[in-house]
Amino acid sequence: MASNRPRVRVPRNPAKGDVMTIKTLISHEMETGQRRDDEGNVIPRNIIHSFKCVYNGTPVFEADMYPGVSANPYFEFYVKAVESGELEFIWTEDGGQTFSTKEKIEVS
């Protein structure tokens, strides 16, 4: 998996107490395990089955995903701004490989 390129959009300077809108996108086929190749062999399932948003070390939002999530999974969710620091976003693929990215926020 060469270029899954996680992308996230986070407000840089939220006010304390603000509920931040967070958008994330990662490139991934999300192979369902239902499709067959030209020879009739089942293409094995390979999806990102879990997503986690960690705010200064505390998980604040998670998602368990199944093959019913579209390719290139996109999320929009909310996190309350309480202190400056770092948001980490972690995607885990079947087989255990993870993709992650971090964003710094300055809470005023």
Partner: protein, 160 residues
């Protein structure tokens, strides 16, 4: 979004997906509909299992935001919103989303915390054909509420 997964190995599958991801995704959905299909009873059983054996009550506290008609079953926008103060004492712990006629009825489980601020999240899902989408919310007090909406799928199903 097209071409986003280009540049992998040169297997036929990858070349296909690089060349026309949308088309491949569609093909995937049509293959789906020829394979096993969940029944509504199975979907409901899966939901009950998720929420600890309880029968969720239909409620207007939970809202499912899906299109009435989805032209492309491979990417259908879906959002859920639950009316909750999201405090430590009273918040939504999780929202599970299911599609009754997908081969695998479970789509996603969103897990919230009081730090979420709002019990509101959205993503994009696959629907094999016209069917009901069900969302069940688990509250911090152990209660569960549900709602459902039908989505008509024009392409990607089997003539739905």
């Amino acid at each position: 979004m097209k071409g986003i997964i280009q540049g992998r190995g040169l297997t036929r599958r990858h070349m296909l997906s690089g060349a026309a991801m949308g088309t491949v995704a569609l093909a995937g959905v049509s293959v789906w509909s020829r394979t096993a299909k969940a029944t509504r009873a199975e979907a409901m059983a899966a939901i009950k299992e998720r929420v600890g054996g309880k029968e969720p009550q239909a409620s207007s506290k939970i809202e499912l935001d899906v299109p009435e008609i989805a032209e492309n079953g491979s990417t259908v926008p879906m959002g859920v919103r639950v009316d909750s103060p999201m405090t430590d004492e009273d918040h939504v712990k999780a929202v599970h989303v299911m599609a009754t006629k997908n081969p695998d009825p479970e789509i996603i489980s969103f897990k919230f915390t009081p730090m979420s601020g709002r019990a509101n999240a959205s993503t994009r899902m696959r629907l094999a054909e016209t069917q009901n989408v069900i969302a069940v919310a688990e509250m911090s007090d152990g209660s569960t509420v549900m709602t459902q909406k039908e989505v008509k799928v024009t392409i990607g199903g089997c003539g739905g």
